[in-house]
Amino acid sequence: MMYWLSVLIFLPLSGALLIVLAWHNNVVMARRAALLFSAAELLIALGLWWFANPGSDGYMYIVRASWIPSMGIQFLLGMDGLSLLLVLLTALLIPIAILVSWHSIKLHWPVFAALLLATEAGIMGVFLALDLILFYVFWELMLVPMYFLIGIWGHERRLYAAYKFFLFTLTGSLLMLVSILGLYFIHGEQTGTYTFDYFALLHTDLPDNTGMWLMLGFFAAFAVKIPVFPVHSWLPDAHTEAPTAGSIILAGLLLKTGAYGLLRFCLPLFPEDSLEFAPFAMALGVVGILYGAFLALVQEDLKRLIAYSSISHLGFVVLGIYAWNQESLHGAMILILAHGITTSAMFAIVGMLEERSHTRLLSRMGGLLLPMPRLGTMLLLFTLSAMGMPGLANFVGEFLVLAGVYQISASFAIAGAMGIVAGAIYLLWMYQRAMLGEVNESPAWRDLDLRELSVLAILTILVLWLGLYPAPFLDYLQNPTDTIIELNTVVITGTEDASH
Amino acid sequence: MIPLSHSLIIAALLFTLGLLIIMLRRELLFILMGLEVMFNGAALTAIAAGQYWTNADGQVLTIFLTVVTAAELAIALILVWLVFERLNTTRADNLKLLKDNIDRGPP
């Protein structure tokens, strides 16, 4: 049963290799093979889900193999509820990205498919790796194909965007690498066993200031990926210039790796320092929420607008993570999923619009509901989800986050809630400008075809499911949340003990 | 009885003659022949030494030497043929493509 985790990682890799080797100039077969591989991946993920027990303690699946024993590096994969849901999300979004790119990618389909699959492998690895070096390897592995996806298939300023993306994320991850090594040596000196094992490193006693610095190293990497307010500048460019599939992966998955990193590594490895840091992080989250919402209002480019809305939404995630209680953590995790689905769908829709009209500018749209009622309805649904309409996915997350944050700090909660109103403003304004009013120009608008409709229908079902009946998902999150909350209480009781 | 040293002297003579051929003759075929002579000088050494110590290893070595010579010669001859075909000469002096030319400068 356990080796399926490795299959999750190596299946897409081998798929990528196979496509490049076997069908490097056969577009039709490459497409089909890519879809097949990603579908197989999805099936495996669903199977893991089916056999997983939400109530079980700790990790449901673990794979442990020796890799470079001389340095204490293992091939250590593990899946708990959080990883499971994110793996599911990944396995779901990759076929969708492939389907969305079906006709819109004109150049080098086989290479494109291979890069997509390689990215999938990297992301899967990030969500599963529990050895810090392994994690770092996957963290970089997903970066490289992404760089090419943006740099080759992007729009006009793709090279600039790709560079920016690469430089920002690489800087962050190098800081993380330094922190990983620091942690490794400190742990090694204390216990005599040099290892990158996550479970071993969990209970490392860190000297006073060192812990904070190491935590900040991790935080830097994750903050860039999320992205948190001052280091968000790569995101709008990367989103705007990336091809549709790239945007979907960026917004739907890559940003989530940052949040996942915070939950999996930053908080558990450095509970005291994270707790100390929490107010700053929450403030950054709030600033991100409002700042993203403001900037989204005045964007002309639809993709850029959604990119800024992502900054705003991910602000909620950061806020929820650092509020560090039952509701907010659940909320942040659900919001990660919800945002992944919603934003992917919105990017897919923008991609479809762009395929038809070759523009993403709001000023050149208008009245599109008339020629494309299905597309308009779908966009409305996902717009509503993005602005936190109850009954749709994002609401559950945002509500839980704010309910949790309120118990920590009312003012942060109020500011965050204002972000929801701001979200309604810019999203409705966007929807009105794109879809309502008179038809502005008329390229040959055609409504969604079956492929596009089925892609969006899948996402619609998920959005409704997550919004109306999130309980099954929340069940899987109970254990990870409890683990993280325990850390918090340990810290608090620990300090109390110290003061007595 | 023939002392080992005599055999070795003969071998050395053969080797030296082969070397002289290589150094003095300009025709590729002659050079190859010189090479053969040198090989045979070496083979004689091996056999003489093997007999001296009553050991089969000398002969085994010679057999391998023969194999190597055969392989070498086959390739060398085809190369000579190619050279003749391309450049219409078998004069070693005319084959100076590897000569360094300072005026051309470094590549």
Partner: protein
């Protein structure tokens, strides 16, 4: 019966689902009938509840499923039908059914019927969910759902940018209120760790002292949410614009049901409000101000539907006034009668407007002349009920009940005077409209006969607008007081002043509508000669609220956004560019200074040296095979000699 509760909101929602999924295969008639059947199913279920004695028994409850599960907190999709919700459910499903029937004929010519019925059904479901919810989270879901449907239906004719903007405005304005409601919910949750209403009420009354600050803040936040939804000052600006939607929508959403959700919410949360007199007084004060605001603004309107919209604002002000004075039962009473007569007015207006090529201006509608007798009669009944013509109209009874209970409240006299003044103005504006509309109606017979399907709902509503009041006679009258006694368990009894005072007050309040009708008659005669009210521009623009908001809030907001954009481009992007440029300058310096000056020169020297050596040595590389062999030989000689020596 408990198990059937889900059918009340479930039937319209399911029907909406069928329409959106399979609507492409259905024709207009099928969709319309399906939607109406769903509304009828909901209404019949409510009737069944009445017949089963829901009116007197314990509240009915049904838990459909667990919605969210976080630790011990498991809010459910749970429904609760007590007397308050029973009132609301009956009104919503009843009026909803009538308006669905009316829409069958009204929307027959529109191509977008599928979207219309989808949202109408969804709205009905959402509204019923709102009033049936047994926890605040589900209530919030319904609350937002009706806001969404309101948005979609206001902007139903989306190709007109003005209408589309009106929808957006409505949504965002109410969203500001919703924000406050959500914060109130968060506060309750952080205090009690539950959102279930019955549990919450017990907890509130047990744990919170009267006048406690926390209670006041919570109550105020919830009140602010109600203000947004119910279009009270200062969040009333969206409602007049909401008239851009089809008339049945205005009747259902923006008169009878959704806008009264705020009233329902406060009535529902009354244990909380009773703890904080200050907030209660605020509710009453806001209500009173809104009465005057709505009535005076309605006075100067020329658009038929806008008159009714401002009238709605004003009438909901009465309900808030009643809520603020603790007369929750009477607020609900007025809510019911208002639902009847205001839907009647809206539906009549819709029929008139549709018959006259979508002409909204009352002056021009009047000069057209041709309105059928039926329209005339229905509008007259509605207007009389709205004005509160004594004894014969339902509006009189509900308004009288409110006015009587306002007097003994704190600063009650002042509030009473304002409310009475409101009554007068209400009478003036509605009869002004009536006279302007129907002054020439004797000239012509009906030009476009009204569809049979549209007539029946009008009849029923007209009948209810007259008779609904008889369930509760004013204090001191010999008639039955079924309403207040029935709701006694929920709210307690409302106080009223001594009977002598009551009679005086009632007399004055009864005369005011008649007086108003007279004034309106004179006003209309003068208006025809070109007379305009003083301040009419100010009043017509709704006290300039819109313009002010547009400049201050909307303008400010956009300016702020642009400012942030500037910051983004100036600070962050520019900083990046500066860094890049600095890096480039440094690189250039390195190239010219270091690379050329130091490295290259040194390298060049080295290079020429090497070149020289090369020239000397390369004579050995002559490419002559024999020479190479010679050199090998020389090497061998050297080595052998070395070993030997």
């Amino acid at each position: 019966m408990n198990q059937l509760l889900w059918l009340i909101p479930g039937a319209p929602i399911l029907s909406a689902l069928i329409i959106v999924l399979l609507g492409g295969f259905l024709r207009y008639r099928h969709i319309a009938v399906l939607a109406s059947c769903a509304a009828a199913a909901a209404f019949l279920t409510v009737l069944l509840a009445w017949l089963n004695g829901a009116a007197n028994a314990q509240p009915l409850q049904q838990t459909v499923y667990t919605w969210v599960a976080v630790g011990d907190w498991r809010p459910t999709v749970g429904l609760m039908l007590d007397r308050i919700s029973l009132v609301m459910v009956s009104v919503v499903s009843g009026v909803g059914l009538l308006i669905h029937l009316y829409s069958i004929a009204f929307m027959a010519k529109d191509n977008d019927y599928r979207r219309y019925y989808f949202f109408l059904n969804l709205f009905l479901g959402g509204m019923l969910l709102l009033v049936l919810a047994d926890n605040l989270l589900l209530l919030y879901l319904g609350w937002e759902l009706v806001g969404l449907c309101s948005f979609a239906l206001i902007g139903f004719w989306y190709r007109d940018p003005v209408r589309a903007s009106a929808g957006r405005k409505a949504f965002i304005t109410t969203r500001i209120g919703d924000l406050s409601l959500a914060l109130g919910i968060f506060l309750l949750f952080s205090q009690f760790n539950t959102l279930s209403l019955p549990v919450l009420f017990d907890a509130i009354s047990e744990q919170w002292q009267p006048n406690s600050q926390l209670a006041a803040i919570t109550a105020f936040m919830i009140f602010a949410g109600a203000v947004g939804k119910s279009a009270q000052i200062p969040l009333q600006v969206w409602l007049p614009d909401a008239m851009a939607g089809p008339s049945p929508v205005s009747a259902l959403i923006h008169a009878a049901t959704m806008v009264t959700a705020g009233v329902y919410l406060i009535a529902r949360m009354h244990p909380l409000f009773e703890l904080t007199p200050l907030v209660q007084w605020t509710v009453a004060a806001i209500g009173a101000v809104t009465i005057l605001y709505g009535a005076s603004s309605a006075l100067a309107q020329n658009d038929l539907k806008r008159v009714l919209a401002y009238s709605t604002i004003s009438q909901i002000g009465y309900m808030f006034l009643a809520l603020g004075c603790g007369a929750y039962a009477f607020a609900l009473f007025h809510l019911v009668t208002h639902a009847f007569f205001k839907s009647l007015l809206f539906l009549t207006a819709g029929a008139i407007i549709q018959a006259n090529n979508h002409e909204h201006d009352i002056h021009r509608l009047g000069s057209h002349g041709g309105h059928s007798l039926l329209m005339h009669g229905c509008f007259l009944v509605g207007a009389a009920s709205l004005a509160g013509i004594p004894v014969i109209t339902a509006g009189f009874y509900s308004k009288e009940a409110i006015l009587t209970t306002v007097w003994p409240a704190s600063t009650g006299q002042l509030l009473w005077v304002i409310a009475a003044l409101g009554t007068l103005v209400t009478s003036i504006y509605i009869f002004r409209t009536y006279f302007l509309l129907f002054q020439n109606s004797q000239k012509a017979v009906s030009i476009s006969p009204v569809n049979r399907m549209m007539v029946w709902p009008l009849f029923i509503l007209a009948l209810l607008s007259i008779t609904a009041g008889f369930v509760e006679f004013p204090a001191g009258w010999p008639g039955p007081q079924l309403w207040s006694t029935w709701l006694e368990n929920e709210f307690g009894t409302a106080t009223h002043p001594p009977l002598a005072t009551v009679y005086v007050l009632q007399l004055i309040a009864s005369l005011l509508p008649l007086l108003g009708a007279g004034i309106a008659f004179l006003l209309v005669r003068r208006e025809k000669t070109g007379y305009r009210l003083p301040l009419s521009d100010f009043l017509r623009d709704g006290w300039k609220f819109d313009a002010t908001y547009k400049i201050v809030l909307v303008g400010g907001y956009f300016r702020l956004a642009h400012f942030f954009k500037l910051i983004e481009s100036l600070l962050i992007d520019a900083m990046l560019h500066k860094m890049t440029r600095g890096y480039k300058v440094f690189a250039t310096y390195c190239r010219t200074g270091f690379e050329y000056g130091v490295l290259n020169r040194g390298l060049n020297g080295l290079l020429s040296g090497l070149r020289f050596g090369h020239a000397q040595l390369s004579t050995a590389q002559n490419g002559l095979l024999n020479r190479y062999a010679l050199m090998i030989c020389a090497g061998a000689v050297f080595l052998l000699g070395y070993w030997l020596w």
